[in-house]
Subunit: 338 residues, 2 copies
């Protein structure tokens, strides 16, 4: 089912033969895919008999703490010297879910640059750099976790799959494909999921663990944002949600509580752009989302809000008051709604 | 991939050979699966050259009006004599997504009973009755739409699949499996979805059409319900949401606006039961949801609220004020939390 170049797979096989000590690294601000693919690969390589460690730039978010093996991740923020030692002693570094050394942050980046270990990249992001010794880059793949499955398949080890390996991979695919919703989801994605479930993965357990972790404060904050702070600009098919520091404090905001809120406003029938503004310390963080290939938001984020990103999902910021930021958004939006 | 009894499939093939006029009937209060499987089967049979009509008890909900072919459905509520004529002139009636004639309502039920046409049931609900001439009952299937796919496969027609046939089937499977979340989702479900996507179904189009149809009022009502009307009974791991007639009026409530709200409260970490009370005309409608096989809510619904249903999803009612209903729930909940 996989499409990997056979020669590269043979190279990988050769590399692994002489590499007792393996490290898995992934990008900063870990998400379901970077953690899922890291832990899935970890359990697979352990089962093959390798010495494996996972080093991430920062701690795992709490909504992924249920994954079996997550406690094995050593993170640079908490244990910099340990990460330094592990990477400097490694024979091979798997670089998962990123395409450029800069994505692992200022702590781990020099460690990768100085290390004599072979760096194997497995990733699905656009424009991979050439800093790696071996590249498995498939930009059509919905997730890196799907590529880990493909690689296990390519190495002839699909029979080794079990719940420990498969569950984090399912989590990575599910979160990065928007629960199989995004256009990046292909027939092959569903074939991979079928394979993971045959190996023992219980889908409802993953969905429940990832999605049913709301706190009362989190739900109430989101409810309040939608019922009280959502504004529609009919003429521009745009929804705006804004939350002040006082709003956040009222609901005991913790990081992650407003994750995905910008997409809720995009679910309103007829709405093509959704913009979420959140007041931080001396800065307003702004998320932009849009629908349609002819409706980019990254240009607006870049031109007026010191940001950028994907055409349909961008970020930016504003140095000033929340009210000013909202006014600026309203002022420039007509330029981008033709 | 299908598991149908070959003899039954041969019987069906035989029946269809001599049946120029086919009618498709599904249950009252149509949902994604009853409509998706009806329209998927309709397009397939039309492509095979049959004369086909779809007769449903009541109109399709608006969130499914985008499906190609939905306007072909003749519903009894609006066109009773037309439905009567169609069914009395038919050779074969496909009975989809129900297992007992009583499920089609008092209008269509006698028409099925009096008809001399062969009734073919395709369904996944428990305890099928023996009123049908031919039964394809698979209670393990996540949806009837999945069974339609299996039947097309069993009839050797998988090559006939196209976007028109596949899209409503995808919709039926997706809605009845909770977007592939429920335990009823199997590896085979994902294999079927892969097959549908290979036939041209665009997953993101279906997800967008089904889920991104919020109105501003609907979103605001739900936000208000969560931020202002959600109460947690910590001791009983229970969440209660209540909406009065005044609340509903404030947000211009229309049918469907509070659909699924009870499940949002169930997504709070640690919550095992969720109860939603909605004031209607002289009656309080109550929805009960729970998690876990050892945590049924249908007993409570049955004993105190004139209702019942599934162990984890039940309904009931209260004749009295909203405040009385809430007090009654709080009074009896300790009995069911041991």
């Amino acid at each position: 089912m996989h499409t990997f170049n056979e020669q590269k797979v043979a190279q990988l096989n050769e590399l692994l033969k002489n590499s007792p000590k393996i490290v898995i690294v992934a990008h900063k601000s870990p998400d379901g895919d970077s953690i899922g693919s890291s832990i899935g690969l970890y359990h697979y390589l352990k089962k093959k008999g390798f010495t494996v460690e996972i080093c991430h730039p920062d701690p795992s978010p709490s909504f992924l703490h249920w994954i079996y093996g997550v406690e094995e991740i050593v993170n640079y923020e908490d244990s910099s010297s340990q990460v330094q030692e592990i990477i400097s002693n490694s024979d091979v570094v798997f670089c998962l879910d990123f395409n450029d050394f800069s994505r692992v942050g200022n702590g781990i980046k020099p460690l990768l640059q100085e290390s004599t270990a072979k760096k194997i990249m497995i990733d699905h992001h656009l424009n991979p750099s050439d800093e790696f010794d071996l590249q498995f880059s498939e930009i059509e793949s919905c997730s890196t976790a799907q590529l880990i499955y493909d690689l296990i398949d390519a190495l002839g080890d699909i029979d080794l799959l079990d719940e420990n390996i498969g569950e984090p991979l399912y989590c990575g695919i599910m979160t990065d494909s928007g629960s199989f919703r995004f256009p990046s989801t292909t027939p092959h994605t569903h074939e991979v999921i079928a394979g993971l479930m045959k190996a023992g993965v219980k889908n409802h357990k993953v969905h429940e663990n990832v999605f049913d972790t709301n706190t009362l404060d989190r739900l109430r904050l989101r409810g309040y944002a939608i019922s009280e702070k959502l504004e529609i600009l009919d003429e521009y098919q745009t929804a705006i949600i804004s939350l002040s520091k006082a709003d956040l404090k009222k609901f005991n905001y913790v990081k992650g509580d407003t994750e995905g809120l910008v997409n809720v406003a995009l679910s309103i029938s007829g709405i093509k752009k959704s913009i979420f503004l959140k007041e931080g310390d001396g800065i307003i963080k702004i998320s932009f989302r849009s629908k349609g290939s002819d409706n980019p938001v990254n240009v607006m984020a870049n031109e007026y809000f010191q940001g950028g990103g994907h055409a349909n999902a961008s970020g930016g910021m504003w140095s000033g008051s929340l009210e000013e930021a909202i006014q600026k958004v309203k002022k420039v939006i007509p330029e981008f709604c033709k």
